[in-house]
Amino acid sequence: MFAYILKRLLYAIPIALSVTVVSFILVYLAPGDPLNAIAPADAPEEVITALRSAYGLDQPVPVQYGLWLMRAVQGDLGLSIATGREVTSEVLSAVGNTLLLAGVAALIGVVAGCILGALAGYRHGSWIDRVATALSVVGVSIPHYWLGLVLTIFFSIWQPWFPAMGAGPGGSSEWQWDLEHFRYLVLPAVTLSVIPMGIITRTVRALVADMLAQEFVTALRARGLSGIAVFRHVAKNTAPTVLAVAGLQIGYLMGGSILVETVFAWPGTGFLLNTAIFQRDIPLLQGTILVLCMFFVALNLLVDILQPLIDPRMGRA
């Protein structure tokens, strides 16, 4: 078990490093001299040269990467061009809101997906199976930025139950665990939850139907186990796969939330990315992408480590 965790940790290191490489390269994808984004257009030649050496841009690219990585590891992601503030603090204040939104959306999606999928798998071919299958197709096909708009029309304009904009009363971006703030979370979280719901419904349905057809289930039933006891066996066998799929989905939600955050003016990383892109604020873009992807890598690692705890067979491999 320990060896397994160690192996996973070691495997995550090159992936994390390559994520930093890609984030670093983003600056060079941007058209033009990266200095143009920092220095004013009419800056004299000496200032440009001074800035170039101050930012280390006169060094070879691999050296630049090394220097950048050293600073990034220490939590220094440079200064935002748009606001002049530190990218690290900007990202950290926004990433909490994104994680909250993605986490709650994933929770709704996973719970609803498991229930729907299990019902559909148990009643294979029934009307409930057809409803669940249709819902899962809709879930993976719907553009969630549009769903957000439709939910706003229904539940914020037609029936004003939930607010449509922001993360708290009075445009506050500080999250608090109270009912008033929670009302702001409902629409964006439900909007974002349809994708994992669709995928997990599909996965669980297939797994459960497959499991119920296996001989060990017949054997359990023949021994006179109650339906609930049999279900416990089925659930235990489906859990590792569901966990793997769910973990991946939470990660995708952190990226996918950029669209939903735009629709609901949610003050998260999507908002930051928007600012970064349209103000050509490359350090901010780079920092936000890097932090989000590190969360994604960490999440995948966590899933890898949790899996053998549920299914000990995996740890021995």
């Binding site: 993976v140 096909s141 553009p143 549009w146 873009l285």
Partner: protein, 298 residues
């Protein structure tokens, strides 16, 4: 999705450049009998036809604005689906919009299909260390959630239609490579490839005659599944302002600019998104049918 090879050791493949005609005939017959596939295909056909023939079918000029006719509701006289925030006929804009939206959804998948198959065939056929290096490099892309990767690349390149096409293609290529590579690696070890090599066939002709036919099926199925994702992502990039620029009509962009109208005229505002949804679900259902129709050989 794991690419399953439509092969069984007991019944060797007819080693032709393409699977025998009867195979495609069977797939085609299967699809024609599938009501879901027929429904999805007809919906797509209508949408594509409306987009392609927009210059002849559209009732009005999609760029002609009118300040006094802004945000007319659905069913207004002369404006069947109402008007947008600048008083342009929405039906015409939706028809013209289909051209760019479909183009931006389909082109990245086609490009990734071509590029990804080529890389996958090469990596799988060469095998060994080079294959491992190529696949490990592509693994890096899996460390990024796909929406984030698309937004990051097109954000860094700058807003614009060609940049978002490049970004989406880059998102899909590694996925296609993975499918193509895994099938190629499986096929490469089969006896008849060995036989072809011993009879002196060049690597290129072995790939073209013996490997490609096996790889195209699974990759094709995978690519059809990507179409729906690509439609949503492409329109999403335009929705964020990263893709098509105004005043060009495009569904994602229209959805964004009409957002200000959801309080005064919600149904008009929701229409472009409905089209993205219908197209994406039709692609998804068609992909499901194609997948099950092509699996019959298994």
């Amino acid at each position: 999705m794991s690419a399953t090879l439509p092969l069984s050791p007991a019944a060797p493949m007819p080693a032709a450049s393409a699977p025998s005609r009867s195979y495609w005939a069977v797939v085609w017959r299967q699809l024609r009998r599938d009501p879901m596939a027929l429904a999805a295909a007809s919906v797509l056909l209508i949408i594509v036809a409306a987009a392609v023939f927009a210059p002849w079918l559209a009732p009005a000029d999609p760029y002609k604005a009118s300040m006094i006719k802004r945000l007319l509701p659905i069913g207004s006289e002369g404006f069947l689906l109402g008007t947008d925030e600048l008083g342009r006929d929405l039906l015409s804009r939706l028809m013209y919009g289909g051209r760019l939206s479909l183009l931006m959804g389909v082109v990245p998948v086609l490009a990734a299909f071509g590029i990804g198959t080529a890389i996958g065939l090469f990596a799988g056929y060469v095998g060994g260390k080079l294959n491992m290096v190529i696949m490990r490099v592509l693994d890096v892309f899996y460390a990024f959630p796909s929406v984030l990767l698309a937004v990051a690349i097109s954000g860094a390149l700058g807003p614009g239609m060609s940049n978002s096409l490049i970004a989406l293609t880059l998102v899909f290529v590694p996925q296609v490579v993975r499918v193509a590579e895994s099938v190629t690696t499986q096929v490469r070890q089969l006896d008849y490839i060995e036989a072809a090599r011993m009879s002196g066939a060049s690597a290129f002709s072995i790939i073209r005659v013996h490997v490609l036919g096996n790889v195209l099926g699974p990759v094709f199925v995978y690519a059809t599944g990507l179409l729906s994702v690509s439609m949503i992502l492409a329109s999403g990039l335009s929705f964020l302002g990263l893709g098509v620029k105004p005043p060009e009509p495009e569904w994602g962009l229209m959805l964004n600019t009409l957002r200000s109208a959801i309080y005064s005229n919600p149904w008009v505002a929701a229409l472009p998104g409905l089209l993205i949804f219908v197209t994406s679900i039709a692609f998804n259902l068609l992909a499901d049918s194609v997948r099950s129709a092509m699996d019959i050989r298994r």
